[in-house]
Each structure stands twice: as structure tokens, then as C-alpha cells.
């Protein structure tokens, strides 16, 4: 009797069974770093002194945070990563032009598949759990060792089950569900634990919404988020991948540290107030909060479904005149799809700025930094103090529907109030 997380770890440790708390060595299917974390990893990797990376296909490098280069320093760092990729013949290096936000790009390219074990030097590596894979974030030095050896050590986490049943309210997406859960359990409510999402509401969600949910497992302190494979996952992978995958499911008698049951009917559109993702309110309780900027994008909500939802609301409307609205499709493919569906036209007609893929403003990097006292509604994942710019700026987290409606009114607004 094991959970899905325990089964994937056991399979990669070459063991029949693992239990929470156990330290195990595991084989890695994919090791990821970006332009912020790869330079540190490469520096440490060179110290180890091995001939090359453990597998040229299994190392992925994506310059997405401060790329296209925001300044000379970023240019130097991206160059360092690019040259490493070239010298070490890393096959999965994605240059500006093919690059997208890593956690949207990797599933889109079919690089992560169900049953995989993935580590990445980025905290939102937990996103891939939506595919029924185990994935977790680590630091640069752990990745350096993984680049050399193809393995790493893990402590097997306890699992918490989040069971959500019932019909979603209008406009409610995966983002609202995960914000609601984080609001209930807090930013350390799943510290060190696996967050397993089940129930008929989850089964009814698109892959894009499932990625949003698993993406923010880290925001509750979770080691990984995970959703078992179903027909929707199989349909997503169909034609996308050239490796066979293994489907893992939790045993009915698997042990959980806790089980939370929620009703979808209780979940309205959510907004997380400054300065923690757990500081959530339903849209009906928000009150009058004027804003200066809206950002729609990121590894949480820069996917095609997010852009479609925003476009539905912005179609034929204008952005409030004192507001800056920045839309960032997460990958080139999503950008192109949005163009062919007429979504980009809607955004530009409405008066938004549409950017090439980048993490940019989410981490206060570039492309939409806030001044003192400014407020932003963002579909990103963190609203810590100073996250998007000045220490005295404020970030309110929401899904794309609230972000788009707020873009029209200039204050935090749900689509029902337009």
C-alpha cells in the first residue's frame, strides 16, 4: 500500500517499497535549470570534474527569467549557460525564439511524461505533477551534482490528500482552487509533504488548470503536487511524446498524513492579498481596491486556456485608462495559437501590451516592475513583500478572469460585476 508519490520514488530508487521519512537515492529522468540557477550549477559542476553531463538528452537549460537579456549582467549569465550547453552538447537548450517559460515549455515539448522523476533548480518544478509525475525543486548545487551523476537523494515525503468534489462556479479555474486550498492550510500547511489532488472536480479540469494547481504546491510548502493520469492526460500526451510512460495510482489503502475534503460549490473566484499567497479572500469580500497594473502570464497562468478566459472578458472592451496591462504568453507556441485564434488582436485592441515569453515581472526581474505604493493584480504565484519591485509595492494574486475584469475597471473586480 503506497501513494502515487511513494510508488514513483520507489520505482526510481529500484525498491519494491518506500515509506515516508526514508532517505533514498533515485535515478533522475530530467534535470532542469534556468538562467538564474544554471550559472551556479555549472560553476559547481565544473568543480566536480567529470567529463560531461550524465545524459545529453536529460539535462534541460532554459534561459527564461531575465531573457531576452534585461541588462549586461543577464547577457553574461545567459552567454555562460549557452556556451556550457554548446560545449557539453546539451540537447535540450532553448534559445530566445524557441524559449518559453520552463514549466510550460517542458510539458508542451513532451520532455516530461507521466511516471517521470524530475528535479529542477526552480521552486515551481512541482508543476509537472499534473502529468502524474514526481517533480520537485532544489538549488543550483544539487543540480550540479545531478548533472554529473544522474541521481540525487530524496527524503520520501508523507502525503496529504486534497479531495475536491462538485461543480465549479462560473469562471472558477485551477488557480482559484489552489489559492482556496492555500488559504485554508497556510503557506506551510503542506511543508515537506506531497499534495495529492483527487475528486470529480479535479477530474473535470483541463490540463492547463491542473498545471496551475500543481505549480503552486510549493506555495503551501509542499515538496510536490500530483494528479494521477486519466483520459485527459492520455489525450494531452497523444502524439506529443516518443517515450512509453508508466501510469501510477495510489492504492486504496495508502496512508495519508491528512485528508481534506472540499466542495467546489464553496469555492468562488479567489484573490490573495499582500504579502502571502495564503492571505486569500473570495471575490465577494474584496471591497474597493484600486490598482495600477495587471499582469497576465507566468508558469502558473500563461497557458492558452488562461489567455482564452482573459480574451473572453476583454473582447470589445478597453483597459481602464490609468492602468498598464501586460500579457505574456508562456511559450512561442501559445503565442502563435493565441494569434491564430484572434486572441492577440483582442488584447491589443483592448490596450494591453503583449510580450514575448519571459518570467519577467513575476520575480521583479523586468517587463513591469512596480514603483513604491503601486498595486498590481497578477496571475503569478507569489506576492511576497518586494516580489514585483519596490518594497512598498503590493501584489494581489488571482486567476485570469479576475485579472481581465480588473483590467477593465481599474480596481479588483470579478467578471460578474462588469
Amino acid at each position: 500500500m503506497m501513494t502515487i508519490t511513494e510508488k514513483i520514488i520507489a520505482a526510481h530508487a529500484g525498491l519494491d517499497k518506500v515509506s515516508p521519512g526514508e532517505l533514498v537515492m533515485v535515478d533522475i529522468d530530467l534535470a532542469l535549470a534556468n538562467d538564474i540557477t544554471a550559472p551556479g550549477a555549472i560553476k559547481e559542476f565544473e568543480k566536480i570534474g567529470v567529463e560531461g553531463v550524465f545524459d545529453k538528452k536529460k539535462v534541460v537549460l532554459v534561459p527564461d527569467h531575465f531573457a531576452p537579456n534585461r541588462d549586461v549582467d543577464s547577457a553574461e549569465q545567459c552567454k555562460y549557460v549557452r556556451e556550457f550547453a554548446r560545449d557539453r552538447e546539451v540537447e535540450n537548450y532553448f534559445e530566445v525564439g524557441q524559449m518559453g517559460i520552463e514549466h510550460v515549455l517542458l510539458p508542451e515539448k513532451g520532455l516530461v511524461i507521466p511516471g517521470d522523476l524530475v528535479i529542477g533548480a526552480d521552486s515551481h518544478t512541482c508543476t509537472y505533477g499534473a502529468l502524474g509525475a514526481f517533480s520537485t525543486g532544489m538549488g543550483s548545487t544539487d543540480l550540479a551534482a545531478a548533472f554529473a551523476t544522474g541521481d540525487t537523494w530524496l527524503k520520501v515525503p508523507q502525503s496529504i490528500k486534497f479531495n475536491i468534489d462538485g461543480k465549479r462556479k462560473e469562471w472558477v479555474s485551477g488557480k482559484d482552487i489552489i489559492l482556496y486550498i492555500i488559504g485554508k492550510i497556510g503557506v506551510d500547511g503542506a511543508l515537506y509533504k506531497a499534495m495529492e489532488f483527487t475528486g470529480d472536480t479535479i477530474e473535470g479540469l483541463s490540463m492547463d488548470s491542473r498545471f496551475s494547481i500543481c505549480n503552486m504546491a510549493i506555495e503551501a510548502g509542499g515538496k510536490n503536487g500530483i494528479i494521477a493520469v486519466d483520459d485527459r492526460t492520455r489525450e494531452y500526451e497523444d502524439g506529443r511524446i516518443d517515450r512509453a510512460y508508466v501510469e501510477y495510482y495510489s492504492d486504496p489503502d495508502a496512508e495519508y498524513a491528512d485528508v481534506h475534503n472540499y466542495k467546489a460549490e464553496d469555492i468562488e473566484l479567489q484573490v490573495a492579498f499582500p504579502h502571502l499567497p495564503s492571505n486569500t479572500k473570495g471575490i465577494s469580500e474584496v471591497g474597493n481596491i484600486p490598482i495600477d497594473q495587471v499582469v497576465i502570464g507566468s508558469c502558473t497562468n500563461g497557458r492558452i486556456e488562461d489567455l482564452r478566459e482573459a480574451a473572453k472578458i476583454l473582447d470589445g472592451k478597453k483597459v481602464e485608462k490609468n492602468l498598464r496591462v501586460i500579457v505574456i504568453p508562456a511559450t512561442q507556441k501559445i503565442y502563435q495559437q493565441a494569434m491564430s485564434e484572434g486572441i492577440i488582436d483582442i488584447f491589443i485592441e483592448a490596450g494591453t501590451a503583449v510580450s514575448t515569453p519571459t518570467c519577467g515581472p513575476c520575480l521583479g526581474g523586468h517587463m513591469g516592475i512596480l514603483a513604491a505604493k503601486e498595486r498590481c493584480v497578477a496571475t503569478t504565484n507569489r506576492n511576497f513583500r518586494g516580489r514585483m519591485g519596490h518594497t512598498d509595492s503590493e501584489v494581489y494574486l488571482s486567476g485570469p478572469a479576475v485579472a481581465a475584469a480588473s483590467a477593465i475597471t481599474g480596481k479588483i473586480t470579478g467578471p460578474a460585476d462588469l
Binding site: 533548480a121 551534482a145 510548502g221
Partner: protein, 167 residues
Amino acid sequence: MEELKGKAWKFGDDISTDHIAPGRLFHLRTDLPELAKHVLEDADPEFASKMKKGDFVVGGRNFGLGSSREHAPRIIKIAGVSAVLAKSFARIFFRNSINVGLPVLVCDTDKIDLGDELEIDLAKGIIKDTTKEIELTFQPLPPAMVRILSDGGIVEHYKKHNGFKLD
């Protein structure tokens, strides 16, 4: 391991990696000693200029939540902090700290106040608050992590053992 001695700097719950090393200062990320001059700036703007080498960062719950950026524990170490004490740590920050050789200790930090003089014996697992004349204990690290820490981080550990050594 040596005995650590210094003053306690208190911080609250949920100190994030953005408090420790904010993205807006990432143009300094290739010059960590310079970035270290801003360490924890968004939690306490005076900390970096007033702390002395050997002092301790004492947090509440969930210290180091957020990003996987390793700059966060690295600049705490470069600033001269000898250990971080907290009621609990975010997972990635904890792991990064061990990997870069920064001691991270889980203990009841409510008993420690700003300015208390502390003496810590890492091997014995004892924290002495000499201001209050009390002794606290901290949860010992698993042996595998003690080994990584005493080898000088994960890279040195790997080189020494020609791989990882869990047991």
C-alpha cells in the same frame, strides 16, 4: 565542529527568499559579497549594516519559503551569520543551506529575544542563551546531512566519496 558565538537577530514567521535576496537586486548576483550587503533588507533594512560576524539569524515558522535561489543561504553565510535558527524551515532553503555549508537549526525560537547572546555547540546539539541563562536543544540532523555539511557541501562530499553516501 567549532562552537558558535554571537548575538541574536530576531525575524518573524514566513521570511521569504525575496526578503533575503530580492529579485530587484539580482543585477548583483554575480557579485555575492555586494549582494550580501543587502541581505534580509526587505525584512529589516538595518540588519546587514548592524550585524557582526558570528551573529545568528533567528526566525519563526517556515523560514526561507519561496524561490530555490541558492543566493539566499549563500549571502547569509557570506554576511558572516554563523547559523540560522527557526521553528521550521522551507524545504528547498533547508537543503540549499546544507549544500552550501550554512548550519540551519530547528528549535523553539520563541524563547530567544533580539540581542540575546547565544553560544551554540553543533556537535552536542545545545544552544545556550547566556543573556537569559537558559539552554535550548535543537533537532539533530540526519547523519547523511551531517556528513554533507562536514564534508563542506554536496560537491566536496561527492568528490570525497566518489558519489553520494547515504548510510
